[in-house]
Amino acid sequence: MNKYIGIAGTNSPSSTNKKLVEYIQRHFANEAEIEIISIAELPVFYKVPGRVLPERVSVISKKIAESDGVIISTPEYDHSAPAVLMNALEWLSYGSHPFVGKPVMVVGASYGTLGASRAQAHVRQILDSPELQARIMPSSEFLVDHSLGIFDENGNLNNDEKITRLNELFKDFETFVEISKNLNNTIKANKELAENYTWEDDEEGK
């Protein structure tokens, strides 16, 4: 059974993206072991001198590194991913690089009709950057719109079409995780590239 990490890109306890990740965890409990980790309490990112990471970051980084894949559910704020998610991804691409080559599935929920479509595109763009270099599952958009009304009292999706789509995507993701294990020719080089990639401020931050 594969082990995945589930991340809701939020620090709001009432987020429907949190609900979505929790639902995915329960719904696929027989197929995979999904551990949900919170990114809520991380400090605002800056380049810590000597790349000494906050302990919480190291813990999350280790869990991701040891997992077979990551499922990220993103809300949309201002047509893009929330700062709190961007912040977590900044921490996880500085001093440690657990995302390099890691299979990632991106989903998202929003109150309105768009289902966090632009935030999902933004997260994909971020995960594709040289510092992160995740293996994002292609052509796999999962948009949960009108998310306030889509969960029943037990927190389960109440829309059959959405459930079918999610089941198919998850199966594909399991296959994608296997395929990704063979996509290993560039992993070493990519890891080095990520580690050597110096951001603005890096030198002076040291």
Binding site: N11, P13, A40, V44, D78, H79, P82, H122, E200
Partner: protein, 421 residues
């Protein structure tokens, strides 16, 4: 002079992007006065834990609202702008929206050749979203690549062409800000100073209804009606906590006479310390609550209307007027009319203060060992308004915009009699 604020999207102490903004602040003083805003203490945005009313968010909100334009300087992390920058924008698009229709210029620097190109694009997209709704300067992309080599030890850009290009971008931005003012002046064109209702016949959300504004004991009646805090009761202010008594002691010890006329043109407060006849601009407690029309002579009416209208529409933020009968080097009374605004930038009334400038100037001269010398070339000086009854006061309006519609305040000089009638 145009006023901009600048924000660097990092909380790191040292940053090449901050260096870039410092360079801009220092070099384009001819174009605009630019204030750098600090985001170090901004908490991570949390929709479940609203901190819009915190000092740091309120300060950013007010500074941006008051600015003519904003310069955002973004580093690039992970092919996008930083979480530090995004968090600020989320706070400022949640319960307050200072970026609404605010002209924004994006610049950025990076280590390599990209010069923060992708961070700038993603920032544009964010600023374009309905919650932020900023007006982002089109074109004129300024990307500073290979930034480690870009500045010399004095923080000057080494490459002249780069510096020249940056200057031209700033210049165009300032012009563009000017052009955009047309977008926001619609209301202004639709109202005329003549519409200014000095009788306070309408009402605003703070107006105390059901109490006769002309009543001599309006303050008492209105206080009962609103169950107003009194004496030892505490009032929470945006950066402090005082009892009503303390507030009175504080305001009564101000070195000037203060008057509050609200956005409904109702005279609702002055710092009452002595009888009207001993004041620089006489006021009596019985006048408080009256509409502005009742506390000015009719002949001053148009001038007062023009002044208030200019403040209300944002044509100017401050009107300064010397009083007729000033005696040079003896007594120089000035009336200041300052527009007050709420957190959303809406006009909320006039803060009028009156003081005698001469003791301040005199003390300054004594302390610095200087004396005043007449400037033979000076023209249209309102040395003593008794000599220049018809003195033009237009020049005393600090207009932010040079429009031909600038209100003429020739007659305004009468309004300096204040609430004296």
């Amino acid at each position: 002079m145009m006023k901009f604020v600048g924000i660097v999207g990092t909380i790191a102490e040292k940053s090449y992007n901050r260096k870039l903004l410092e360079y801009i602040v220092k070099h384009y003083t001819e174009i605009a006065e630019i204030e750098m805003l600090d985001i170090k203490d901004v908490p991570m945005f949390n929709a479940s834990k609203d901190q819009t009313n915190s000092e740091v968010i309120q300060n950013l909100n007010n500074k941006i609202l008051a600015a003519d334009g904003v310069i955002l300087v973004t580093p690039e992390h992970n092919h996008t702008t930083t979480a530090a920058m995004k968090s600020v924008l989320e706070w400022l698009s949640f319960n307050v929206h200072p970026f609404e229709n605010k002209p924004v210029l994006i610049v950025g620097a990076s280590y390599f050749s990209q010069g923060s190109s992708r961070a700038q694009l993603s920032l544009r997209q964010i600023l374009d979203s309905p919650g932020v709704n900023a007006l982002v300067m089109p074109g004129n992309e300024f990307l500073l690549g290979n930034v480690k080599e870009a500045f010399d030890d004095n923080g000057e850009l080494k490459d002249e062409r780069t510096a020249g290009f940056l200057g031209s971008v700033l210049e165009k931005f300032a012009k563009w800000v000017e052009v955009l003012k047309a977008l926001n002046t619609k209301e202004k064109e639709e109202t005329s100073w003549e519409d200014e209702d000095l009788t306070a016949a309408g009402a605003v959300d703070t107006t105390v209804r059901g109490v006769d504004p002309d009543a001599d004991d309006w303050v008492e009646l209105a206080a009962q009606k609103t169950k107003a805090a009194q004496k030892k009761e505490y009032v929470k202010l945006n950066s402090g906590l005082l009892t009503v008594d303390q507030l009175n002691w504080f305001l009564n010890s101000m070195p000037m006479e203060l008057t509050y006329a609200d956005d409904n043109n109702q005279f609702i407060y002055y710092n009452h310390t002595k009888p009207g006849k001993e004041m620089l601009a006489p006021r009596e407690p019985e006048q408080t609550g009256s509409p502005i029309s009742k506390v000015h002579p009719d002949r001053a009416r148009d001038g007062v209307k023009k002044t208030i209208h200019a403040l209300r529409t944002g044509e100017t933020d401050l009107v300064k007027m010397p009083v007729p009968g000033n005696q040079i080097n003896e007594r120089y009374l000035m009336h200041y009319y300052k527009a007050m605004h709420d957190e959303e930038g809406n006009y909320r009334g006039v803060n009028e203060w009156v003081l005698d400038m001469w003791p301040i100037v005199k003390a300054y001269l004594e302390q610095t060992g200087q004396k005043l010398v007449k400037d033979e070339n000076a023209q249209d000086v309102i040395a003593s308004a008794s000599k220049h009854e018809e003195a033009k006061v237009e020049e005393n309006i600090e207009t932010k915009v040079n429009t031909s519609e600038e209100p003429r305040l020739d007659e305004g000089i009468d309004s300096v009699t204040g609430a004296s009638e």
